[in-house]
């Protein structure tokens, strides 16, 4: 299980998998969309992140998904484990709490930012 806070790339991959299992390219595209282009992953970073998340038991590989949605090639799909969902929720709650605290303690900070 992962300890401490998650790296940005790992958190985004977990969040991209919240709405169901996906193959590598779909994860990469969703991460970019989710972060509005702030987090851009290439294949090496993507699979390096997937490797670590698999090792930590936060995601799992889905077997028997060779052809779907008109895919004509074999693809590996990934999905969140219960632990991964818990870690993603904890991390989002931590970030939300951080933003709330910053707004309360530094009300002038971030004016003019969206």
């Amino acid at each position: 299980m992962a300890r401490g806070q998650l790296p940005v790339a790992s958190l985004h991959v977990l969040l991209a998998l919240l709405d169901g299992e996906k193959h590598g390219y779909a994860v990469m595209r969703d991460v970019e969309e989710l972060s509005e282009g702030a987090v851009r992953m290439g294949p090496g970073t993507l699979y390096g992140t997937i490797k670590r998340l698999l090792a930590d038991g936060l995601i799992e590989e889905v077997t028997e998904t060779t052809r779907r949605d008109g895919d004509d090639e074999r693809r590996r799909y990934y999905r969140l484990t219960a632990g991964g969902e818990r870690v993603a929720a904890t991390e989002v709650a931590r970030l939300r709490a951080l933003v709330t605290r910053v707004r309360r303690l530094r009300p002038d900070f971030g004016h003019g930012l969206a």
Partner: protein, 192 residues
């Protein structure tokens, strides 16, 4: 197709274990990206990613290999010491045997838990020589103790036979794993 061949060549820069597991998927992702965003943007992303991720993967591979072999060696050394302790202090054999078993099993579980399943399996077959050496060391230990050790009228012979058979079992397991690995290398030609 030319783009894909070039990228396939660049994937060879990643550590072997990583590219064997994920190499084909990476090429597939690169192909999808090229198809969707065009060659210029596809290549710019792929090249900047290579510059960042190749060193990271090499560092991770080196660290994982070091911690894996250190844990395995530590486990083997601890088990070996415990077995020697059993031979040397036969009076406490009832305590020493379970301790040996606990140390061996704990080190094995620790070692496997540090790696994803695929790597753990390939790591186990890669250490065939260590298993073979452990068996040979066990037999050598028994032989040396029998030849030069103190008189041990009280020594439980069932235990000696058990250790002797365990030594041969380890040697046979090591040889079988080594042969299996060799056969796999000839039969299975991975893309990377």
């Amino acid at each position: 197709m030319v783009h894909e061949c070039c990228y396939r060549g660049l994937v060879l820069l990643y550590p072997r274990r990583f590219r064997r597991v994920y190499g084909s998927d990476m090429v597939q992702v690169f192909r999808d990206d090229l198809h969707e965003r065009g060659p210029v943007r596809g290549w710019s992303r792929a090249l900047s990613d290579l510059v960042l991720s190749v060193p990271v993967q090499h560092v991770e591979a080196a660290m994982s290999q070091r911690s894996t072999s250190r844990a395995a060696q530590g486990g083997l050394a601890a088990s070996g010491l415990a077995v020697l302790a059993v031979l040397a202090m036969g009076r406490y054999v009832v305590i020493a045997v379970p301790i040996t078993a606990i140390i061996a099993v704990t080190s094995l579980l620790y070692w496997r838990s540090r790696l994803p399943y695929r790597e753990a399996v390939s790591g186990a077959s890669a250490s065939w020589w260590a298993i073979l050496c452990a068996g040979a060391a066990l037999l050598a230990g028994i032989g040396l103790t029998a030849a030069f050790g103190p008189e041990m009228d009280w020594f439980p012979w069932n235990l000696a036979v058990f250790l002797y058979l365990s030594g041969w079992a380890l040697i046979i397991t090591g040889v079988v794993l080594g042969l299996w690995r060799l056969l796999r290398r000839f039969r299975h030609q991975p893309a990377f």
